[in-house]
Symmetry: C2
Subunit: 235 residues, 2 copies
DNA sequence: TTCAAAAAATGATATAAATCACTTTATACA
DNA sequence: TGTATAAAGTGATTTATATCATTTTTTGAA
């Protein structure tokens, strides 16, 4: 991975889509001073379940999974993060240890903002505090939605949904080409909440139906509308 | 149900455990003026999935389930509310329709605070806004925890967990007597995320082991420590 | 380009839980 | 207090998905 100069918060392309969209210029300058730029190779741990959070991570490049392991070593992916997304804010607000780990799914770059700066920011800037509140509310809604689907939808529909989630999360803007992503069957199973063999079988079915194609671990979504229909069979 | 005078916010016994614990006296007086006291019979709907929220509900007495139905009519209970708990805050913050319904599990009384009062309150009182943020963070953590367990734990363990959740939510303070609750097997199944017959079977097992007893729909938890162990088999 | 290791794919089998059909027991109301 | 209705409980069967075993394909390094 080639080394790269740390980006400036003030000019960060993702700022306007991030928690920091309503920061003032001086606040951004302060953040930029105190932040710390990190790079992670694919598979590397960004933070670990059970550890204390010392600040907030903001993804600059790459893909991140936030997941939990049970004692059998089985993993469940709680959410996915993309550039501009923040990691660890819930633990910071609750002032509690991480309940999940963050792992890079690709080579990833992220900025780290110390907890004190984060706390000062939300104490001093009401807009940011409000945005954070809305972020929490949205995350809560998303989480409840996934909980419901886990309880009520069969694997086939949840897989269709997971593929659409990957698409909506990681698809480049204004790209008309079909969406492709390289993801292991094991990670996909950990999103869906099933076994990897089961994912493979339903994926094969989708391939037979011409809904997706795949080469190795790369999956291409050919007919997203069909996936949408499948995911909504029992809504 | 005998009619009862609306309680005053200023003197509400649940205030110090509620979102309003850091309200100033004048704020409480204002709330008390504008709030509206409602009573609901067991089974009655407090608000309905898909409707627009016009304010915040604060439970004064009784038990409430917040749940969603799918198109098959299958229900899943997202959370339980007790006196002092607020309902509908997520939808208000997101300024979106309810994504779940609230239904009284017992005869219930609740106060309704208009949305404008709620919004004014969190805009003007930083402490309350902060408490609300923490409430959201906690709810998000709880939701993710349940999501993980739904994905990873078998029904027996989730049932043990559900029984302990009922206990920790509805047990009276400083009560040394074993905890009892009247709840239909169907509602219990909707918390656990399984079929009612499956709940009944595992309950029978728990009864044979002397962990719980039951008469009709009333379940008594005799050995909560055993339930805790069962719920943690795979943690 | 070859080769070893990892990951995807496929098949056979086991298992947890859902569903269906029915009986027994509680509840509430006339 | 008896009786209708609803809910709890039980048994038999089906089904979705997990698990285990194995083969095939992909990947990445020598």
């Amino acid at each position: 991975m080639k080394s790269q100069a740390a980006p400036e918060c003030q000019r960060c392309a993702f700022r306007e889509f991030s928690l920091f969209k309503n920061c003032q210029h001086e606040e951004l300058e302060g953040m930029n001073e105190n932040k710390c730029f990190h790079t992670y190779k694919k598979g590397q741990v960004i933070f670990h379940e059970g550890n204390r959070p010392f600040g907030l991570f903001c993804v600059f490049d790459g893909k991140v999974k936030i997941s939990r392991l049970n004692s059998d070593g089985k993993e469940h992916i709680i959410r996915l993060a993309k550039p501009g997304d923040t990691l660890g804010y819930r633990s910071l607000i609750e002032n509690a240890k991480y309940t999940a780990s963050a792992v890079a799914l690709d080579d990833t770059q992220a900025c780290f903002l110390p907890a004190s700066d984060f706390n000062n920011l939300i104490d001093s800037n009401v807009k940011v505090a409000n945005d954070l509140m809305k972020m929490l509310a949205k995350a809560l809604g998303d989480s409840q939605e996934r909980m419901i689907h886990l309880a009520m939808k069969p694997v086939r529909e949840r897989l269709a949904e997971a593929l659409l989630l990957l698409r909506s999360t990681y698809q480049q803007k204004d790209e008309s080409a079909p969406f492709s992503i390289s993801i292991s069957r094991e990670d996909l199973a950990a999103i869906v909440g099933t076994a990897k063999e089961t994912v493979i079988r339903f994926l094969s079915e989708f391939k037979e139906d011409g809904i997706v194609t795949s080469h190795g671990s790369t999956i291409t979504i050919v007919k997203p509308d069909r996936l949408l229909k499948i995911s909504q069979l029992y809504d």
